[in-house]
Every structure is written in C-alpha cells, then in structure tokens.
C-alpha cells in the first residue's frame, strides 16, 4: 500500500470510501485498492495531468477579489466519491418528491394561497419575504412547473444518512463542473473505470434541452431556446457558454433580445428578428425586466415579464420561484410534502430553528456555540456562523444580529458532515464534503445520477464553496454493488 494512505483516520465521521475500521467500503474497494497501489510519483503525475487537462479544457470560474475579476482554474481532487446505486435511488426518489412539493407550493402561493389560508405555513413569512414577487401573482406556467432547474444541497451525517441542507431554486450553478469532473477522471484515471458500471452523467445537456423544449408555448419540432447570461464577467459565464453549446442553443445577453408590440420576445439575428420560445435565464429576478423589477438593470430585457405573463415565452426558472428558496420556508418543506402530496417525506431535512419564534430564538441564543446560524437570504456560504468554530466575539456579533432582525436568521444543529479521502500535499487525508444534485422539472421530472460533490480543502473546514477555497470531486453512482 502506498504510504500516503497509512495514516488515514476517519475519526468520528462517516467516510464515503473507508469504514471506521480502516477498510475500503465494498462499493469502493476496487477503486481504493487501485489508488493505494499507485506510487507517490504516479499519484503526483495523475494530479498534474488533471491540472493540465483543466487548463487545456479552459475550465475556470471567476472570483471577485480586490476590485478585480480573476479567472481561476477549477480546483479538482482526483479521488472520486463513490455511492451505491441502491442508496442513490432512495435519494433520487426523495428529491423528485421534494421538487414536486416545492413547485406545488410556488404555484399555490402565486394563485390560491391555500397553504396559507389553511395555516400550514404562516402567511407573513411568505408574503413579507423579499423573494415573494407580487408581480407574478395569477400566473400558472405549464405543468405547474416553476423551478425547472433545482440544485439541492445534500450532506451525510455521521450515521451515513442523507439530509437536504437547502434547495437552490433561483439560478443554481455547478452542473457543468459535474460533467467536466467526469471527463477529467476518465482522462487521468482511466483504469479506475474497469470493472465498474458507473451511471453516465453526460446526457445532462440533452435532458435540459428536453425539459426546456417541453415548456415552449409554440408546438414546434425545434423550439428556439436561448441561455440568457449577464455576460463574460459573471462567475458562472463558463457554465452558461458550456450549456448553450451543449444544447445547441444561443448564448444571449439582454441587449440581444427585445419585446415587440405583439408582446412576443425576439432575438436580433443577422436574418432579422427571430421569435424566442424559451429563455433559460441565468440572471436574478431583480435584473430580469427593468419595467417590472430594478429600473437600473442593464442586464435584462424590458417587457420580458409582459411576454411571459401573456404566455408568449417560457422563462426557466420562472420569475418568483425564489419564494421557496428561503431558509425559513425550508423549515416547512416536510409539511408541504404532506399537505400537497399526502406523502411522508422520503428525504430528511435538518432540524431548523426559526429565530422569529420567541421559543426558538431563546434556544438559539442560549446555544450559539453548538449551532450553525445562517441568514435566510444569502447564498455562496456568505454571512453564516459555525458556532463550534466561532470566536466569542463572533458569537456575540451574531447574537446582536439575530435580535435586531430575527426574521432573517435561522439556526441548525452542527452536522458532522461526511468525509472522503482527498489528495492533499502528497498525502491522503479526510475532508468534509457535500453533494449538489440537479433536478429538472418540465413535462417530466428527472434527477442527475449523482451531482456535484464539493469538498472543503482546508482541514476540519465545513465550507465547501468554490468562492471560499472549496474544491470538487467526481461523483459515481455505481450499479449492481452489494
């Protein structure tokens, strides 16, 4: 065995590949054995090959730092994460159920608001949220689907059980990296794929295309689909271009589109205006239409909301979907599943304390050292506090923030995020990770096999976001393993 694995210690955590007695899990055995048989030089060579592939393929993400946009190479760990097909099919069913309930909820909120009048979800937390867009009231998109592309963040606790941490229903990103990670692994560790039957991921762009095409207001063999990007300086521009190319769709900016007097959306082409059927937009609601939302937005398209309301164009995700993407609303998802589907939630949520409730708030303030406190409305891992890792001063600061604006804070117990072997500084060490699968909802609902695994490269850290020093791993769903 390569010595870099010898001191591997899973500690008190659930490790994805290694059991607490230090042996590879059944599903990962062949992969781990092979990796352990590689020499130190070989491991370094593979990692360098991966770095080179990333550079050549131009896989990058943009971070904003010190007033500048910096294009960074995508951080990737060569050791894949392996999940059994059986475990995954349970998770996948749970995700489908959850997404259906969330779409029912959004559709209800912008129409009859039954769940509010029945008192299942308190009306004020929904209607007073900045994510509730009154401009969307009365609309009912095709198939009742609002959040067509959902990225849910999952974690595994110390017993190996999957929990949903949050649902990203606005403009979730990361799926292109899921595809590229597989591509890189195939290049640099081809022998790992022998004797494994791994569910392929690379049909995502065609699944996305079918989902979007099913939303088209016009019955056409090939509807006109565009990917609307804020432009080259957006951190996910690489992904926007990647997906447009993968779907054979046009990558457009706001200035390429206009709404004519017939309330239809057109793009400016060299042959003249061409009507657009479906917009996969990667800009936030607030910037979508200066006639309706932020007047100063130069990224959006004046009148696009009009075209959407008239049913002349489909927008994915539908404007206003963010109403269900809120860490307070999150606490009610299990209730939604029971209310709309009359089913038992198949996937666990994390116990959530709502600081707006006095009883919860008192508990949170008394237990700040044990909890993770999150603002209700931030993404990218910004503005949160991990109690056990926080200083006394930080905890005091969060206590003041909570008391000043209780609606905006929730708290959850600190989960023991699972780990996986990660190649760091020529040694293999456990690092914490999460998983973001993507769920597509149109005429049908479909879940990616696996998803994007993000890994916190800093020892002990639980923050996996790439903007904050996180990396990623290829994620395998392996069929037929006992």
């Amino acid at each position: 065995m390569n010595k870099s694995w010898k001191s591997y210690d899973t500690g008190a955590f659930f490790d994805e590949l290694i059991t607490s007695t230090g042996r590879p899990r059944v599903v990962a055995r062949r992969a781990v054995n092979l990796l352990q048989s590689l020499s130190q030089e070989d491991m370094v060579a593979r990692r360098e090959a991966a770095e080179l592939a990333i550079k050549e393929m131009g896989i990058s993400f943009t971070i904003y730092s010190e007033g500048k946009n910096i294009d960074r190479a995508w951080p990737f760990d060569i050791i894949p994460r392996v999940i059994t097909g059986r475990d995954w099919s349970k998770v996948s069913r749970g995700l489908v159920q959850r997404t259906r309930a969330l779409n029912c909820f959004i559709d209800d909120i912008y129409n009859k608001q039954k769940i509010l009048s029945d008192g299942v979800v308190p009306a004020d937390i929904v209607l007073e949220s900045g994510n509730y867009k009154p401009q969307c009231a009365g609309i009912s998109p095709r198939y009742g689907a609002w959040a067509h592309i959902c990225g849910s963040d999952l974690v595994r606790d110390k017993d190996g059980k999957f929990y949903v941490l949050e649902d990203n229903l606005r403009v979730p990103s990361g799926v292109s990296y899921m595809l590229e990670n597989r591509e890189i692994t195939k290049r640099v560790l081809p022998e790992l794929f022998e004797n494994y039957s791994i569910q392929p991921v690379d049909d995502y762009p065609s699944k996305l295309y079918s989902t979007l095409a099913s939303l088209s207001p016009r019955e056409r063999r090939r509807p006109c689909i565009v990917v609307l990007t804020p432009g080259i300086y957006n951190s996910a521009y690489f992904e926007h271009a990647f997906l447009a190319q993968g779907m054979g769709a046009e990558l457009v900016e706001g200035s390429d589109l206009f709404v004519d007097e017939d309330d239809c959306l057109y793009m400016r082409t060299v042959d003249g205006p061409e009507r657009v059927d479906v917009v996969y937009r990667r800009i936030d609601d607030d910037f979508l239409d200066p006639e309706v939302f932020r007047e100063d937005s130069a990224l959006g398209v004046p009148g696009i909301m009009r075209a959407w309301k008239e049913g002349n164009v489909a927008i994915a995700n539908a404007p206003g979907s963010g109403v269900a993407d809120d860490k307070v609303v999150y606490a009610f998802v299990p209730d939604m599943i029971r209310y709309y589907l009359n089913e038992k939630p198949a996937l666990a949520s994390v116990k959530t304390y709502l600081c707006m409730h006095e009883e919860d708030r008192n508990y949170v303030l008394a237990n700040l050292d044990k909890l993770v406190v999150k603002p209700a409305n931030e993404s990218g891992g910004y503005g949160l506090m991990v109690g056990p890792h926080a200083t006394r001063a930080e905890r005091a600061r969060f206590a003041r923030l909570i008391e000043a604006d209780p609606r905006n804070y929730i708290a959850q117990p600190t989960l023991s995020l699972s780990t996986a072997p990660t190649y760091i500084d020529e040694t293999v060490a456990p690092r914490h990770l999460d998983l973001r699968p993507f769920i597509l909802s149109g005429k049908d609902t479909w879940v990616t096999p696996g998803g994007l695994t993000r890994v916190a490269l800093v020892k002990g850290s639980l923050v996996v976001n790439s903007s904050q020093g996180g990396g990623s791993k290829d994620t395998w769903i392996v069929e037929g393993s006992r």
Partner: protein, 312 residues
C-alpha cells in the same frame, strides 16, 4: 442556422483584427527589407508607414520624431494605437473569448497563445535584432488560425461574416500597400530610377505575390504592371479584385443585402474603370483615397444592416 447579430459582429471584427495584424506585419517586414536594399541617402523615410495607415494624429500624440525606433514601436507594440499588431491581436482575442461557442476550440487556444506571445515579445521586437523573427511568427500564426477556420468551419453565417471581415480588411490593406509604393516615390526627385523596381518588388513580396507575378506577368518588375496586377488579377488572393469578388460572394446569400451590394458594386465599377498605365502617381494616390473611402462606407453599411442592436 441562426446567428445573433452580436455574435456576427464579434466574428467579423475578430477576422478584421487578425487580418490587420497579419497585413501590418507583412508591410513592416517588406519595408524593413526594402530599406536595407536602398543606397544610403536615397531611402524613403519611416513616416510613410504611419501615413499609409492614416495614423499620423495618433502617432503625433505619442512621439515626435518619425525615426525607425518610434515608428516600429508604434506599429508593433504601442498600446495606444488600436491598430498596432499587439492591440489587433488583443482585439481578436477579446472577440473570440465571447464567441467560443460558435468556433472550434482550437481557434480560441491559438488566438489566446498568439496573444500571450505578443504580450511577451512585441515590445522586445521593435529593434532590428528580433523584429524579423517576431513578424514571421505573427504572420505564420495568423495564417495557421485562418487555415484552421477554413478547414473546420461549417459554411454558414459564422464563416460568412469571418470571410467578410477578412476580405474587407485585406482589400483595404492591399490598396494601402500600393500607396506605400506610390508614396515612397511621390514627389521625390532625389532617388535613382534603379530604386523603383526594388520598391515595387517589396510591394509584391509583402503580398506573397512575387512568384505569381513572375509567372503571370514576367520577370521584370515595372510599376504599371505591378499596380495593374495587384489591383486586377482575379486569381491572386490578395488582389483588390479578388477581395471584392469574395465579398460579393459572401454578401449574396445574406438577407437585406441590397444596400451593401450597391456600395460594393460602386467599388467594383471604379476599379474596372481605373487604368494605372495612364495615371500619374498623384492620380493613383487620389484614386486609392476615394476607393478606401468607399470601403469604409461598405463597412458602415454592413454594421448597420446586420450588427446594429439599436433598431428593432
């Protein structure tokens, strides 16, 4: 195939910038050789290169003396001169960066590498020592990128707008190269007539047309024949006639092409009516000026017809 106006605009400018970089490199290369061949005292000045590119105002703001060092820095590496070789390559790269989804991957990789090469070498290649190698490298890499596009691009709108950009830029630059020849001799009575053939030979060299000229016209380089050949030889890929025919071919399948074809035909008519053998050098210069003005009009018509985002 659909093509967004914005994407067409960027492809067209990518092609123009690449062509401009290559042509400026060719011009500079040929002129440097020429200067070395001409006897001390009879050589024309370096300012001609700036005049040819109509860049005197920008140059004037950058440097006072039109000496070799200043002019070459201006043409090769100057960041304020948007037509310098390094700025053209930078412009091409910016345009490819945002149209990668319609181009083969290798185009981006090669344009990006050429940009990095210029970043490293442009400033160091102003002097005669590295200049030749640098210019050769730029010409060679531009040709490789063009070859890559010609051999891989689907013959649709993307290809069409790239061709339009390249041909329009080349037609413009070829007339400018002839202007160098005419300008170098214009109103200058000092030189020996033995210098004439050297200058016209360098014109042919800068257009990679020397061999074809010898085979088609003959071994003697004479002013009238050269001008006639470079303007009107349909088979020569850098002749003005060839470029105009090519532009016409690419314009024909486009919608809304009437105005552009009208302006183009104006250029084609003026070209067929022009007879270099019966013109003085002043007349030649005046003809080129008018011809270039019409090409600029054609550029604006293309812009308004297919790229403009203002109109709906």
């Amino acid at each position: 195939m659909r093509m967004l106006s914005r994407v067409a605009d960027r492809l067209y400018w990518m092609a123009r910038y690449l062509e401009r970089a290559e042509d400026t490199a060719r011009l500079t290369q040929a002129y440097t050789h020429l200067i070395m061949d001409i006897p001390e005292g009879a050589e024309p000045g370096w300012e001609i290169l700036v005049q040819i590119l109509d860049a005197q105002p920008i140059f004037g703001a950058r440097a006072r003396a039109y000496n070799e060092q200043n002019v070459l820095r201006f043409l090769i590496a100057d960041e304020e001169n948007f037509s310098s070789i390094s700025q053209c390559i930078k412009g091409a790269r910016e345009n490819v960066r945002t149209t990668r989804d319609v181009l083969p991957d290798e185009v981006w990789e090669n344009v990006n590498e050429l940009h990095l090469y210029c970043q490293e070498w442009a400033e160091k290649s102003v002097g005669r020592r590295n200049r030749h190698r640098f210019l050769d490298e730029v010409i060679g890499r531009c040709q490789m990128i063009n070859g890559l596009m010609m051999s891989t691009l689907c013959r649709d709108h993307a290809y069409r707008f790239i061709k339009l950009g390249a041909l329009l830029e080349r037609a413009d630059m070829t007339t400018r190269v002839i202007d160098v020849g005419a300008g170098a001799l214009l109103g200058d009575e000092r030189h020996h007539s033995s210098v004439d053939p050297l200058i016209w030979a360098s014109v042919l060299q800068s257009l990679s047309a020397m061999g074809t000229y010898r085979r088609t016209v003959g071994p003697l380089v004479e002013v009238n024949e050269v001008v006639d050949f470079v303007f009107l030889e349909e088979a020569l890929p850098r002749s003005v006639k060839f470029c105009l025919n090519g532009i016409r071919k690419e314009l024909l399948p486009l919608k809304h092409n009437r105005e552009a074809l009208r302006v183009l035909d104006r250029s084609r008519r003026s070209l067929s009516r022009f007879h270099p053998e019966s013109s003085t050098r002043e007349e030649l210069h005046a003809f080129i000026d008018a011809f270039q003005a019409n090409l600029i009009t054609l550029g604006s018509v293309i812009d308004e017809t297919w790229f403009s985002l203002d109109k709906t």
